[in-house]
């Protein structure tokens, strides 16, 4: 069979979000790959400049549905640094707690997606069932299953009580037991290991050179973890280890994530045992003094970075978001070299891509002269569909002015 280029995306079953990849294959082998990003660009950075800091926090939380706490905490940390606010220790601990719960839910989600990408739907069903436990915990603690909105400038919004602590500890015990079972599957199931090992290799040198972050870097034995390197919230006082692996492939990335789940359970237990008493927030000014700050946060997918510049008003001058997926994209091209088409979905999934995070920002695509090259605008599309139904189905829809 001659070389063919197949489009994967913007709409494709293996992609959970719209992005477009063009893969040139020779038989089953991948020759080259190009990508077009930006389908999820929503103009959030620009929108942030027109809203107050507190409104921005809620907006930024909606950059991503999975690592929403990541983005809001990262942004809030930058704002607090500019304003010189020291958040109470209890607030820092609870931020870490929600962050770890979020990591658990994200990694369990990833495990399911990875299973689905290699046709192992049973794993998908099992891990997503267990993910519900974490989602329920988050709903109990914050009021929401996603977009928790627990942060506020200067601390957190909701405190936790003894009942919550008991429920969390109980749930964590269940999850730990289930995770042990997944570790057993990951290390014993033959087809799973066959599909994952040797796939999408990224050597230590390449990971370092291409700037890989998060589990992608750690699976290439590169111990990059912002929680350790640049401690924030309560991580400086917590005892945990950075899970690394030397497999350098998708299998390694699976082991790292499952290992991190176990670490997260340990971290949560520590947080709950050592939870300090005290207030949960300090009063924050409405206007933030001029200044700038860069904040880093270890998202489930890797390092998240926010840069905030203030101009003395109640609205920021500039907000910049760099999501972990963007840092890992270069590595993906490397991983796909000489791979199989069949491995494409799992290699892409293995960096746990979050294109919503990556693209962030659209305000509305308007050509200066009012028309779009090669695309229909909303009105034309509507007229077309009404005509189509009139012609082919004999249905006459009335157009309301």
């Amino acid at each position: 069979m001659a070389k063919v280029t197949i489009p994967i995306g913007p709409q494709h079953p293996s992609l959970k979000e719209p992005e477009s990849f063009s893969v040139t294959i020779d038989g089953e082998k991948i020759i080259s790959m190009t990508m077009k990003l930006g389908y999820n660009h929503r103009g959030i950075e620009k929108a942030c400049e027109e809203r107050t800091y507190l409104q921005d926090m809620y907006l930024i939380e909606r950059i991503c549905g999975i690592c929403s706490h990541t983005h809001s905490t990262c942004f809030i940390q930058a704002v607090e640094e500019i304003a010189g606010l020291e958040i109470p220790r209890r607030a820092a601990y609870i931020r870490s707690l929600v962050g770890e719960l979020e990591r658990i839910h994200s990694h369990l989600l990833w495990l399911g997606v990875a299973g689905h990408e290699i046709g192992f739907d049973t794993l998908l069903m099992y891990s997503w069932r267990d993910r519900e436990i974490v989602m329920d915990l988050l709903a109990m603690l914050t009021g929401n299953r996603v977009n928790y909105a627990i942060n506020t400038i200067g601390g957190i919004r909701r405190d936790i009580n003894a009942d919550n602590i008991r429920d969390i500890l109980k749930a964590v015990d269940t999850l730990e037991e289930r995770t042990k079972y997944y570790i057993q599957i990951a290390t014993q199931e033959v087809t799973l290991i066959q599909r994952l090992s040797g796939v999408g290799t990224l050597s230590f040198e390449d990971a370092k050179r291409l700037g890989a972050v998060g589990p992608t870097a750690r699976a290439s034995n590169l111990p990059r973890d912002t929680r350790k390197d640049d401690p924030y919230a309560a991580y400086g006082e917590l005892n945990f280890k950075v899970v690394t692996d030397t497999h350098n492939d998708v299998y390694g990335r699976t082991l790292v994530r499952v290992g991190e789940l176990m670490e997260s359970y340990a971290i949560i237990r520590q947080i709950l045992t050592n939870l300090p008493d005290g207030p949960i927030a300090v009063k924050a000014p409405r206007k933030i003094a001029p200044g700038e700050a860069t904040s880093r946060y270890e998202a489930p997918r890797g390092e998240d970075l926010h840069y905030v510049k203030s101009n003395g008003s109640d609205k920021p001058e500039r907000v910049k978001v760099r999501a972990p997926t963007l840092a890992n994209l270069q590595s993906v091209s490397k991983m796909l070299e000489n791979g199989y088409l069949a491995d494409f979905p799992i290699v892409i999934a293995a960096i746990d891509p979050c294109f919503s995070c990556t693209d962030r920002m659209i305000v509305g695509v308007h050509h200066p002269d009012g028309e779009l090259a090669g695309a229909m605008d909303w009105k034309a599309l509507r007229t077309y569909s009404i005509d189509w139904y009139k012609k082919n189905r004999g249905v006459n829809f009335k157009i309301k002015a």
Binding site: I6, I118, G119, F120, M125, R195, A342
Partner: protein, 312 residues
């Protein structure tokens, strides 16, 4: 004449096959769901799916060859339904049994795969094309172990006809136990024929959308779906006649019950395989079939030849 037509189209022919295929699909889906900790579909779901698909619009790519595109689903369906007529279900004789019918059944079961390949090829879509090539590649991998596995029992029985086979094992029931290796190989190869996990490579949705069927919709897709559902039942019936030749001598009700128990057992095995494994890559699949399945099937043949030489 009327009696034959009734047998072919109504009972135990096409219509009956449709009904048990849908029932089999329900069992497969429900058990699959329960094994995965899900609730699973209600009993009428496969039928509802079919009705829904039949009510949908047929969309055909402009580039596609209309004759082939529309003809192939019917071709696949007809091939499977025909194969069913030659398999003894509960009576020791099948409807139209003749000498060497076991070979005919096996080849009729190969036809749907060829139809999937051609359907993908004539769809002129990239995904369908890749799916088609994968179907054919896979066919060469599982077909030989499957044939060897199914034909091994016939070696002992010294006959190429299914009714002869059953008659033989009614006299020597113990010898049926010797064919378990072949049964094991065939069940796994059947997964390839049905394009199910771990061999659902030709329609791996996360890679090539729906493989050969990417461009199919509406009635035509329904026919393909039906053909696959029927293939499961026909395959299970064939295996139950060849590897589990029990219950044929019972009174009618008992024989039917035995038949149902046997095919449900085989469907459950297939379902379990589907639950337990991840999808293989095409190169791994071919390697697996030639490195493990084919030698095991050959071992079965060897065992049967030895038994035939020494015991009988």
């Amino acid at each position: 004449m009327i009696h034959s037509l009734f047998a072919i189209f109504i009972f135990p022919g096409f219509l009956f096959l449709c009904v048990i295929s849908l029932a089999a699909e329900f069992i497969d889906r429900k058990v699959y769901a329960r094994l995965q900790n899900r609730v699973g579909p209600p009993w009428f779901q496969p039928l509802a799916d079919m009705i829904k698909l039949f009510g949908k619009e047929d969309i055909m790519p402009e580039e596609a060859n209309p004759l082939m595109f529309k003809g192939l689903p019917i071709f696949a369906l007809a091939a499977v339904a025909t194969a069913f007529l030659y398999i003894p279900l509960w009576s020791p004789e099948s409807l139209f049994s003749f000498d060497c019918d076991i070979i005919v059944v096996l080849y009729l079961l190969t036809l749907p795969t060829i139809a999937f390949f051609l359907a993908g090829w004539y769809s002129t879509s990239l995904y369908a094309m890749i799916g088609a090539i994968r179907s054919l590649t896979q066919l060469f991998a599982y077909e030989v172990p499957l044939f060897l596995g199914v034909l091994a029992p016939a070696i002992i029985a010294n006959t190429w006809s299914l009714s002869g086979l059953i008659a033989f094992y009614r006299i020597h029931p113990v010898l049926a136990a010797c064919n378990m290796l072949g049964f094991f190989v065939s069940i796994i190869a059947l997964q390839g024929k049905l394009e199910k996990v771990p061999f659902d490579i030709p329609e791996a949705e996360t890679e090539i959308v729906a493989g050969s069927f990417t461009e199919y919709s509406g009635r035509l897709l329904a026919m393909f779906r039906m053909a696959i559902a029927m293939e499961l039942v026909v395959g299970a019936s064939l295996f139950s006649a060849v590897f589990l030749p029990f219950g044929f001598g019972l009174p009618l009700a008992g024989a039917i019950a035995a038949y149902i128990v046997k095919i449900v057992f085989i469907i459950l095995l297939s379902c379990l395989i589907r639950t337990l494994f991840a999808r293989m890559r095409i190169d791994q699949m071919v390697e697996f079939c030639w490195k493990y399945l084919a030698p095991i099937a050959l071992t079965q043949i060897l065992i049967n030849l030895l038994i035939k030489g020494m015991v009988l």
